[in-house]
C-alpha cells in the first residue's frame, strides 16, 4: 500500500527540483514584473515603498504617442524582417537542395552569420554603414552611385537589412532540412506526371513543407519582437525614434526615465503580444497532431 503511493509519487519527486527552479527563476520575476507594473516606482525605492496606482501605467502608455511609435517600429521591423527572411531563406534552400560537389561547403558558409554574437554583428554593420569610410558608401562611390545615408534617414531599412543578413540562415537550414525529408518518390512521380521545376516547387514541395515553414516563421516572429543588441549597437534607437524598438524603449524607460512601473507595464504589453504568437504556434502544432491522429484512426477503421 505505502509502496504503491511511493511509486505513484516517484515521477513527481524527480520533477520537483526542476519545478522549484522554474518557480524561482521564471515565475517569481514574472510576478514581480506584473506586480511592479501597477505601481509608480522609482529605482531608488523598494517595491514596497512604491505607490500603488492600479492600471494607470497601462492607460498612460496606451495614450503615449512615443510608445505607439515604438510599437509601430517594432511591428514593421518584425513584419519586414520575417517576410524577407522567409522568402530568401526558403528560396536559397530550394536553390541549394541538390547534390553538387562543394554544396556542403556552401551550405556551411551560409549559416555562418547566425553563429556570430549579436553585438559583433551590430558593430560590423555599423562600420559598413559608416557614411564616409563605410564599405557600402565607398563601394557606391567607386562605381559612381550616389551615397546613401544608411543610419540616418534610412536607419530602419538598414537595421532590417542587417537582421535579414543575420537570421536568414536560420530559416535556410530549417527549410533545407524540411526539403530533404520530403518523400523522394512523390517528387519523382511529379516529374513523370510532367511537372517542371517550378511546378514541383509550387504544387509539391511548398505545400509539403508548409507545417515546418509556419512554425519556423512564428519562431522568427517571436524572436524579431525581442531584438535588442544589434539595434542598440548600430543606432541606439535613433535617429529620433525611427529605430526605437520596444525592447530598447523598455530599457530606456527603466534606466534613463527612471520609471520602473511604466517599463514593467510596457514589458507586459510585449509579453501579451508574444504570448499570442506562442499560443498560436502551439495551437497549430497541436492541430497538426490531432489531424494526424484522426487520419490514422480513419485508416484503421477501414482495414
Amino acid at each position: 500500500m505505502r509502496r504503491a503511493v511511493a511509486n505513484r509519487l516517484t515521477p513527481y519527486m524527480f520533477m520537483a527540483p526542476a519545478v522549484v527552479i522554474m518557480v524561482i527563476a521564471l515565475l517569481y520575476p514574472l510576478g514581480y514584473m506584473v506586480w511592479g507594473s501597477f505601481r509608480d516606482w522609482d529605482p531608488s525605492q523598494t517595491i514596497g515603498e512604491a505607490e500603488f496606482v492600479g492600471l494607470k501605467n497601462y492607460v498612460t502608455l496606451w495614450h503615449d504617442p512615443n510608445f505607439r511609435e515604438s510599437l509601430g517600429v517594432t511591428l514593421s521591423f518584425a513584419f519586414f524582417v520575417v517576410t524577407f527572411e522567409m522568402f530568401i531563406g526558403v528560396g536559397l534552400a530550394l536553390l541549394l537542395d541538390r547534390n553538387i560537389r562543394g554544396m556542403s561547403v556552401l551550405r556551411t558558409l551560409f549559416i555562418l552569420p547566425m553563429m556570430i554574437a549579436p553585438v559583433v554583428v551590430g558593430l560590423m554593420w555599423r562600420y559598413m554603414y559608416h557614411p564616409t569610410v563605410g564599405t557600402f558608401n565607398r563601394v557606391f562611390e567607386a562605381i559612381g552611385l550616389p551615397k546613401v545615408d544608411w543610419l540616418g534617414t534610412n536607419a530602419l531599412m538598414s537595421v532590417i537589412i542587417a537582421d535579414i543578413w543575420q537570421w536568414t540562415p536560420f530559416i535556410f537550414i530549417l527549410s533545407l532540412a524540411a526539403l530533404q525529408s520530403l518523400p523522394r518518390s512523390a517528387l519523382e512521380a511529379a516529374r513523370i506526371d510532367g511537372a517542371t521545376g517550378w511546378q514541383q516547387i509550387i504544387h509539391i514541395k511548398l505545400p509539403l513543407m508548409m507545417p515546418v515553414l509556419i512554425v519556423t516563421g512564428l519562431l522568427r516572429l517571436i524572436d524579431a519582437f525581442k531584438v535588442l543588441e544589434v539595434i542598440l549597437v548600430m543606432t541606439e534607437g535613433g535617429p529620433g525614434l525611427s529605430t526605437e524598438i520596444l525592447a530598447l524603449r523598455i530599457s530606456r524607460t527603466a534606466t534613463e526615465f527612471r520609471e520602473l512601473g511604466v517599463a514593467a507595464a510596457m514589458s507586459n504589453y510585449l509579453l501579451i503580444l508574444l504570448l499570442f504568437f506562442t499560443v498560436s504556434m502551439f495551437a497549430f502544432t497541436r492541430w497538426q497532431e490531432m489531424r494526424a491522429n484522426r487520419l490514422r484512426t480513419a485508416v484503421e477503421e477501414d482495414e
Binding site: S185, A186, E303
Partner: protein
C-alpha cells in the same frame, strides 16, 4: 503504341558497374516483366527507362526515337511506384488529375476522366479523401488510377504489389491482368515474385547480377531454361538439382549419380552424347516426378520421405536422394508415411541437364 528498345544499356555508380549492357526489344502492347533476385538491377533498368536515372552508356529508344537525354515528362509514360508515391496533401481526385491539370486540359474533360477511371477501380466513394485516410490496398488503386488517367503510351510498374498482404496481392494481380488486356498499352513491370511474372507476362526477362539471363514467353522459360539460375528461379516449388555424370552404355545414354541412374530420352540423349563422361547437374521439377511403385529403375528415382507439407489438394514431400534433397509434388490422397522409401517415375521430357562448370543448359 510506340515500341521500346534498349540498346547495350550500361549503368555505373561511380566505379561500380551495376548494369552490364542490357539489350532488350519489346513488341507493341507487350506486357514485359523484369524479374530477378534483390539487387539484380531491375529497378535501375526501369528508372533509366523512366528518366529518373541517367544513362551511363547505351541508348533507349521509344518509338524509334532516342530518349536518354529527355526529361521524364517528355517520354510519354506513367509509373506506379512500390511505395505508391501519392501526393499526401492532395485528395484522391486531385492526385489522379495532377498530370492533366498540369497539361491545362479543360476541367470538364478532367472530371469526366477521373470519374471513369475511379469507377473502374472502385474508388468513386473515396475521391474526396487524402491518401493518409486510405488503406494500403486503396492507396495502391489510387496509384494505379493516377497512371491510368494519364493515358500515357507506356506504363512502368516497380513492384506495385509488394506492400500488400498475400490475399490482396492475388486479387490485385488478377485485376492487373484484366486491366492490361483492356487498356492495350506497353507495360513494363518489375517484380521479384516469379508467380507475378509467370501470370502477368507476355514476355519475361530474367535478370541476375546486372545481366539478362534469358528472355521469352513464360512457357519458353519454364520449359527450356538456358541455365541453372533461370531454371531454379522460375517455378514453385523450385526445381531439384542433383549432381551426376553422363555415361554412355549399350542400353543408351544415362545420367548417373549418387542414388540414381536414369536413362535419357532419345532427344536428350542425342544432345548429351557429345558431353559423355562430363560432370553435369540434373534438374527435375517437383511436378515432373510421378508416384509409381512399378516404374523401372532406369526411369525413376527412389527417395526417402523426410517431411510432408500439406497445402490442400497437393502435398509437397521433402525427400532424400543420396546426399541431395529432392522435393516432390503429389496428390494429397497418395498414401505416404514419413521415413518410407518410395519410387517416383521421372517425366522424360522434364529432365534438364546443366554443365557443372558454367551451369549452362546442355
Amino acid at each position: 503504341m510506340p515500341t521500346i528498345h534498349l540498346e547495350n544499356l550500361i549503368k555505373r555508380y561511380g566505379d561500380v558497374e551495376v548494369l552490364h549492357g542490357i539489350e532488350l526489344e519489346m513488341a507493341d502492347n507487350e506486357f514485359t516483366v523484369l524479374v530477378g533476385p534483390s539487387g539484380c538491377g531491375k529497378s535501375t533498368t526501369l528508372r533509366m527507362i523512366a528518366g529518373l536515372e541517367d544513362v551511363t552508356e547505351g541508348e533507349i529508344y521509344i518509338g524509334g526515337k532516342p530518349v536518354s537525354r529527355l526529361e521524364p515528362k517528355d517520354r510519354d509514360l506513367a509509373m506506379v511506384f512500390q511505395d505508391y508515391a501519392l501526393y499526401p496533401h492532395m485528395n484522391v481526385a486531385r492526385n489522379m488529375s495532377f498530370a492533366l491539370r498540369l497539361q491545362k486540359r479543360p476541367q470538364a474533360e478532367i472530371d469526366q476522366k477521373v470519374k471513369a477511371v475511379a469507377a473502374t477501380l472502385g474508388l468513386t466513394d473515396y475521391l474526396a479523401r487524402k491518401p493518409g485516410e486510405l488503406s494500403g490496398g486503396q492507396r495502391q488503386r489510387v496509384a494505379m488510377g493516377r497512371a491510368l488517367t494519364r493515358d500515357a503510351g507506356t506504363f512502368l510498374f516497380d513492384e506495385p504489389l509488394s506492400n500488400l498482404d498475400a490475399k490482396l496481392r492475388g486479387q490485385m494481380r488478377a485485376e492487373l491482368a484484366l486491366m492490361s488486356q483492356r487498356v492495350q498499352k506497353n507495360m513494363i513491370y518489375v517484380t521479384h515474385d516469379q508467380i507475378e511474372a509467370m501470370t502477368l507476362a507476355d514476355r519475361i526477362v530474367v535478370m541476375h547480377g546486372g545481366y539478362i539471363q534469358q528472355q521469352g514467353t513464360p512457357e519458353e522459360l519454364f520449359k527450356r531454361p538456358v541455365n541453372k539460375f533461370v531454371a531454379g528461379f522460375l517455378g514453385m516449388p523450385p526445381m531439384n538439382f542433383l549432381d551426376g555424370e553422363i555415361v554412355e552404355r549399350n542400353a543408351g545414354v544415362f545420367v548417373s549419380g549418387d542414388g540414381f541412374d536414369l536413362r535419357l530420352g532419345d532427344e536428350k540423349a542425342a544432345v548429351a552424347k557429345a558431353h559423355s563422361n562430363k560432370e553435369v547437374i540434373l534438374g527435375v521439377r517437383p511436378s515432373d516426378l510421378v508416384f509409381d511403385a512399378d516404374a523401372s529403375e532406369q526411369e525413376s528415382l527412389t527417395l526417402d520421405v523426410m517431411v510432408s507439407e500439406y497445402v490442400g489438394a497437393q502435398s509437397v514431400l521433402l525427400c532424400r536422394c543420396g546426399p541431395a534433397k529432392v522435393m516432390v509434388e503429389v496428390n494429397s490422397e497418395t498414401p505416404v508415411a514419413l521415413g518410407q522409401r518410395l519410387t517416383f517415375a521421372v517425366n522424360p521430357n522434364g529432365m534438364h541437364l546443366f554443365d557443372r562448370q558454367d551451369e549452362v543448359a546442355i
